[in-house]
C-alpha cells in the first residue's frame, strides 16, 4: 500500500512538472530613455488566462491607478487574487533614465507568463508594458524590448496636475519638479482611443513659463523602445 502511494506520487509529480514547472527566475528592467522616469515597477508572473492589460481593450481600474498615478497597489491586489508571483517595486521608487532594477522570484506551478508595467513620467497616463510574455523553460538569458502605451483613461493635456485616477493632469514627484514648466494652456484635443494603445509620444514645448505644455520638448519626448527586460531562467 505504501509502495503504491509513493509510485503514484512520483507519477503525479512527473505529470505536473511536465505541464507547469516552477522556475527560479530573475527579471531586470532597464529604462532606455533619455529623459523619462519610471514609477514603481510591477513584474507579475501569472497563469496564461490572467492579464494586466490588453491593447484594444479598456484599462482596468487597477491599471488606470498605475498609469495615471504610479500606484501599483491595485495591481498587487489583482496579482494576489490571481495567485500570481510578483516582484514589486524593485527600484525602491522611481527608476531614472538609463538605470536598471532587478528582482528574483521562484514562480509557482502554473504561473508561466510574465507581465511588467510601470508609469512613465512625465505623462498623463503613459506606461511601459509587457503583456503575457511566455517564460522560456530552458535555462538561459532572454531580452525583450518594450514600447510605451497609453492607458486611454485620461486626456494627454501635459499639464501639472493629479495622479489620482480620473483627475486631470500629471503627477509631479520631486525629481521631475525642476524639469517641468508651469503655466501651460494644455495640449489641445481629447484622446480619441479610450482603449490601451501605443502612446503617441509627448508633444511638449520649449517654454518653462507658458506655452501649451508643461513638458520640455527637448528632454521628455521619446521613441520606442523605452525599456529592456532581461529575464534569466536558472
Amino acid at each position: 500500500m505504501k509502495r503504491i502511494n509513493i509510485l503514484s506520487a512520483a507519477a503525479m509529480l512527473a505529470l505536473s512538472s511536465q505541464q507547469s514547472l516552477a522556475a527560479d527566475i530573475s527579471v531586470e528592467i532597464q529604462n532606455l530613455t533619455h529623459g523619462l522616469y519610471f514609477t514603481p515597477i510591477a513584474a507579475v508572473v501569472h497563469t496564461p488566462d490572467a492579464s494586466l492589460f490588453e491593447v484594444g481593450e479598456a484599462a482596468s481600474t487597477e491599471l488606470q491607478m498605475m498609469a495615471e498615478g504610479g500606484s501599483i497597489d491595485g495591481i498587487t491586489t489583482l496579482a494576489t487574487a490571481a495567485g500570481a508571483d510578483m516582484i514589486a517595486n524593485p527600484a525602491g521608487g522611481l527608476l531614472a533614465p538609463t538605470m536598471s532594477a532587478s528582482g528574483d522570484v521562484m514562480t509557482t506551478d502554473g504561473n508561466l507568463m510574465l507581465s511588467v508595467v510601470a508609469m512613465i513620467l512625465p505623462s498623463n497616463d503613459g506606461f511601459v508594458g509587457l503583456d503575457n510574455w511566455e517564460i522560456p523553460t530552458e535555462a538561459g538569458t532572454y531580452t525583450v524590448l518594450l514600447n510605451a502605451y497609453d492607458a486611454g483613461t485620461e486626456a494627454n493635456d501635459e499639464l501639472r496636475g493629479s495622479g489620482e485616477p480620473g483627475m486631470p493632469g500629471m503627477p509631479v514627484p520631486p525629481p521631475l519638479d525642476p524639469l517641468l514648466g508651469t503655466g501651460g494652456s494644455g495640449v489641445a484635443g481629447a484622446d480619441t482611443n479610450a482603449t490601451v494603445h501605443i502612446h503617441r509620444g509627448n508633444i511638449g514645448d520649449d517654454s518653462m513659463a507658458d506655452g501649451t505644455s508643461d513638458v520640455n520638448n527637448a528632454v521628455h519626448r521619446w521613441l520606442n523602445p523605452v525599456a529592456k527586460v532581461t529575464v534569466t531562467v536558472r
Binding site: 538609463t98 508633444i203 511638449g204 520649449d206 523602445p225
Partner: protein, 240 residues
C-alpha cells in the same frame, strides 16, 4: 605531423654517437644532443566580413561608419558613460580614435546620405569569435548615433549573412538644443566635438529631434530632419 618529424631527428642524433663508439675509439665521448625542431608556423587564416549599412532616414546623413572587431566587453552600451572616442563619433562623426579600440577595424568612406548605402570590408586573422561593434553619427543632430554593440560573430560561418535594423542612440554628452552653433551636419554646419559634457552623461535611446517646425524655437532643424526608429539597416556577411 610536426611531432613525428621532431621524433625522427632525435633518433638520428642518438644513433650517430653509438656508431662511433662501436669503432672502439676511447677518445670518443658519447654525447646525446637533442635538437628541438620548431613546428612549422601555421599560415595565418584571414577571417573577413562585409558590412553593408543602409541609411533609412529622411534627412540625416550617417557619418562614415566605424566597424571594430574586438574581444569580450562593450565599446558602448545603453546606461554606460560614453568613452571620449564614442563622443567624437556622436558629436562630430570622427571615427579615427574609435577605430583604434579593437583587434581589427575599418572605417567607412565618406558619409552615407539618406537612401544610400555603403559596404565596408574588415579582416581579422584566425579569430572567428570576435565581437562586432559599429558606431556612426546622425549628422544633423547634437550627439545622436546609431550602430550595434558587441554582436557575437561566432554565429557566422563562411558565406553566412545576418541582417538587422538599428535605432538611434543619444551619447548623453551634449544637450539636444539642435541650435545652428552645435549641429555639425549640413543642416547647420555648427561645432563638432566639444569635450565639455553638459547632458545626462549616460548613453540612452535617442528621443528624436524636435525641429523648429515642431516647436523648438532655437532649432536649426526642420521637419525634414525628423526620424523614427529604426534609422539604419545593416547586413553582415562572412566572406572568408
Amino acid at each position: 605531423m610536426p611531432n613525428l618529424i621532431k621524433h625522427y631527428k632525435k633518433v638520428l642524433l642518438l644513433a650517430l654517437p653509438l656508431a662511433l663508439s662501436a669503432c672502439d675509439d676511447d677518445d670518443t665521448r658519447e654525447v646525446i644532443v637533442e635538437v628541438e625542431v620548431p613546428a612549422p608556423e601555421p599560415t595565418p587564416v584571414d577571417v573577413s566580413y562585409e558590412v553593408t549599412v543602409v541609411n533609412l532616414t529622411n534627412g540625416q546623413p550617417v557619418s562614415p561608419p566605424a566597424i571594430v572587431l574586438h574581444a569580450d566587453g562593450n565599446l558602448w552600451a545603453v546606461g554606460q558613460v560614453p568613452s571620449v572616442e564614442l563622443e567624437r563619433i556622436a558629436e562630430e562623426g570622427s571615427s579615427e580614435s574609435f577605430l583604434t579600440l579593437g583587434l581589427a577595424s575599418a572605417g567607412g568612406d565618406g558619409p552615407i546620405t539618406p537612401g544610400d548605402q555603403q559596404t565596408i570590408s574588415v579582416t581579422i586573422e584566425d579569430i572567428t569569435d570576435a565581437k562586432l561593434t559599429i558606431a556612426a553619427m546622425l549628422g544633423n543632430t547634437n550627439d545622436a548615433f546609431t550602430g550595434i554593440n558587441a554582436w557575437d560573430l561566432s554565429q557566422l560561418a563562411v558565406g553566412d549573412s545576418w541582417t538587422t535594423t538599428r535605432p538611434a542612440y543619444d551619447a548623453g554628452t551634449e544637450k539636444n538644443t539642435e541650435s545652428a552653433a552645435t549641429v555639425p551636419g549640413p543642416a547647420a554646419s555648427g561645432e563638432g566635438f566639444n569635450p565639455t559634457r553638459d547632458d545626462s552623461g549616460f548613453i540612452s535611446m535617442h528621443p528624436g529631434v524636435v525641429s523648429f517646425d515642431d516647436g523648438l524655437s532655437t532649432s536649426a532643424l526642420t521637419v525634414e530632419h525628423k526620424f523614427d526608429n529604426p534609422v539604419i539597416r545593416i547586413q553582415i556577411t562572412r566572406t572568408e
